[in-house]
């Protein structure tokens, strides 16, 4: 039997708190799960710094990847024998679902920003490079790794296949919303996925939703909206993210200036030098990063040690709402005052905007900007969701942006009372302190 068709003697199941069970029968999937690159995802948290806000949010990228695989597996059972669906693409879809986040690194959002990296490039490199994952995929066929990479990169010729993994209603989003809700413990993020899976229909180049399933999709869109404000965009999580980013900036700056670290940051050197090899990237996980944060909390450089100590011990920055348009002068004044009291404003006075976080809203958009969710009407016509649903239309037009100013309140409180700057800083910040 060809490897691509090889089935396990008995179905394997993984217990899963969101989907109850993840079912594996294909040998290829089983082998991919066993690769070291996939197992590495156990050591990367799905929600980055959110565990500092929601103590349950310790779930990993591996949990999520298995969940996305399971959802796609269930969708494909529903698609079997439907028109427009090519059964030959089944294994490709399952592999792409399982591997779609393979290139995520530790706290990848901050790492990508500071070191100008892209986890999607690394996903591609792991799939196409000299890796265990590549060995498994190549056994299916020489072209197969490239096909999997194309699906994940969304450049595969069959857009229906791509849309299962990446569209505005796809397996990725359906898993992370439910999983993140479960592990954070919030009561948002729930929707009737079984219903959505039943009303999904493959059409020529996209997955659409039968019109009768509109209310289930409304619930899904509402969940996305609520999870954004309640979890992904939580101001405390953003504070942790700000500190993490500043640690990475500081440590790079010190390295560039020839600073002698007490413990040489060997796993980071290629990141500092902008020459990250695939092997370097795969080696770096959250266990390694947190070890170095412990070490950096003991460094002589006061900024680095302070920031690392803050992250490890959850001594986060406080914040105020900030309108860069109305408060420009206050910002400039604060910047100078921070300098005057030797608090480097580049590290201790940070404006964080909603666009600094990775998240995507449902966007009907304009024509051909981005593919929206389409409803399949009884007369076979396709209608964009927000044109049919008042709820979705209302959410789509809502203001979804804000800006916050983060600062170390404790350090300001510690300034001597006789420093005139202290009172001035407090006066500006206390105007609308959180």
């Amino acid at each position: 039997m060809a490897y691509r068709d090889d089935q396990l003697h008995e179905e394997k199941v993984f217990k899963d708190p969101v989907h109850r069970y993840v079912h594996v029968r294909d040998r290829v999937i089983w082998d991919l799960i066993g690769t070291k690159e996939f197992q590495r995802l156990r050591r990367i948290k799905q929600l980055g710094t959110s565990f500092l806000t929601f103590h349950g949010a310790e779930h990993s990228r591996l949990n999520h990847s298995l969940g996305v695989y399971e959802i796609v597996r269930r969708i494909l059972i529903n698609f079997e024998d439907r028109p427009n669906w090519n059964r030959e693409e089944r294994l490709l879809c399952l592999c792409a679902a399982l591997l779609h986040d393979l290139g995520h690194g530790p706290f990848s959002h901050s790492f990508e920003k500071v070191f100008k990296l892209d986890h999607e490039d690394f996903t591609r490199s792991i799939i196409l490079g000299d890796t265990e994952v590549n060995q498994v995929l190549t056994k299916v066929g020489n072209e197969f790794p490239q096909k999997v990479a194309d699906v994940i990169n969304k450049t595969y010729h069959d857009k229906l296949v791509v849309s299962l993994i990446s569209s505005q209603i796809d397996a990725d989003r359906m898993d992370y919303l439910q999983r993140d809700a479960y592990f954070t413990g919030v009561s948002y993020g729930h929707f009737d996925m079984e219903r959505i899976l039943r009303v999904m229909r493959p059409v020529e180049d996209q997955v659409v939703i039968k019109e009768s399933g509109m209310h289930a999709v409304e619930d899904y869109i509402m969940s996305r909206y609520q999870m954004y404000w309640q979890v992904y965009f939580h101001p405390v999580t953003r504070s942790a993210e700000v500190i993490l980013t500043k640690i990475l900036h500081r440590v790079k700056e010190l390295y560039d200036n020839g600073y002698m670290f007490k413990v040489e940051p060997i796993p980071f050197v290629s990141f500092f030098e902008g020459q990250v090899s695939l092997a370097d990237y795969i080696r770096l996980d959250e266990a390694v990063v947190l070890y170095y944060f412990q070490m950096w909390a003991e460094e002589d450089d006061t900024i680095l040690s302070d920031l690392a100590y803050r992250f490890m011990n959850r001594r986060l920055f406080k914040y105020i709402e900030f309108n860069p348009n109305l408060q420009m002068n206050e910002w400039m004044e604060l910047y100078q005052l921070f300098r005057d009291v030797d608090l480097d404003p580049d590290y201790y006075l940070v404006v964080d905007s909603s666009s600094d976080l990775p998240y995507d809203f449902y966007r009907p958009g304009e024509e051909e900007e981005r593919l929206p969710i389409h409803l399949l009407m009884p007369n076979k016509e396709l209608r964009e969701l927000s044109r049919q649903s008042d709820i979705v239309e209302a959410i789509s037009g809502k203001k979804r942006t804000d800006h916050k100013l983060y600062y170390p309140k404790d350090l300001i409180e510690k300034l001597p009372e006789d420093r005139p700057e202290k009172e001035k800083i407090k006066k500006i910040l206390n105007k609308q302190e959180s």
Partner: protein
């Protein structure tokens, strides 16, 4: 203004230089093309159904409109909406305070603005695959843009456009 909202300032600068842009899709592709030509935009793009698209940019556009730096007018077309962007007085003021460096060539922004968003989508898609040899790139573009029915002449024209921008 130090480094406050640098990335927002760059966007406002482009819209100011263009004297107004009609279409989110057009704005998305213009920024992508400029980024590919080495201008320091930090928005992350990925390939979507209609070519390179940045959600980060979409949100940033929302931010600059919510801050009042840019006005957004929504026009209802038959099956979709279209958005018109123009820098406001507050936006002009914001730019005066900004120290953001963006070696913008206004003529290039103008030239892009005059193109259709369909054409800019083709150019952006070609640039997305610029790591491939020319022949393979054209093949890949045709493969992922099957429905757009770009003709060999369109592709020729896109090459000429890219050459002009490179100069």
């Amino acid at each position: 203004m130090f480094s406050l909202l640098d990335n927002h300032a760059k966007l406002v600068k482009v819209i100011a230089a263009s004297e107004g842009i009609v279409g989110r899709k057009k704005l998305q592709k213009i920024i992508y093309i400029m980024k590919k030509f080495g201008l320091p935009f930090e928005e992350k793009y990925t390939f979507y159904f209609y070519g390179p698209y940045s959600e980060e940019l979409s949100l940033r556009i929302e931010e600059i409109t919510n801050l009042g730096f840019v006005s957004e007018v929504k026009e209802n077309k038959s099956n979709y909406y279209q958005y018109r962007y123009q820098v406001t007085e507050q936006g002009e003021d914001f730019l005066k305070h900004s120290h953001t460096e963006l070696p913008l060539m206004e003529s290039i922004v103008h030239e892009m603005k005059e193109q259709s968003s369909r054409f800019l989508e083709l150019v952006a898609t070609m640039l997305y695959f610029d790591h491939l040899p020319k022949h393979e790139m054209e093949q890949k573009v045709q493969e992922v843009k099957k429905k757009s029915n770009y003709t060999p002449e369109d592709i020729q024209e896109a090459w000429a456009f890219i050459d002009r921008l490179q100069k």
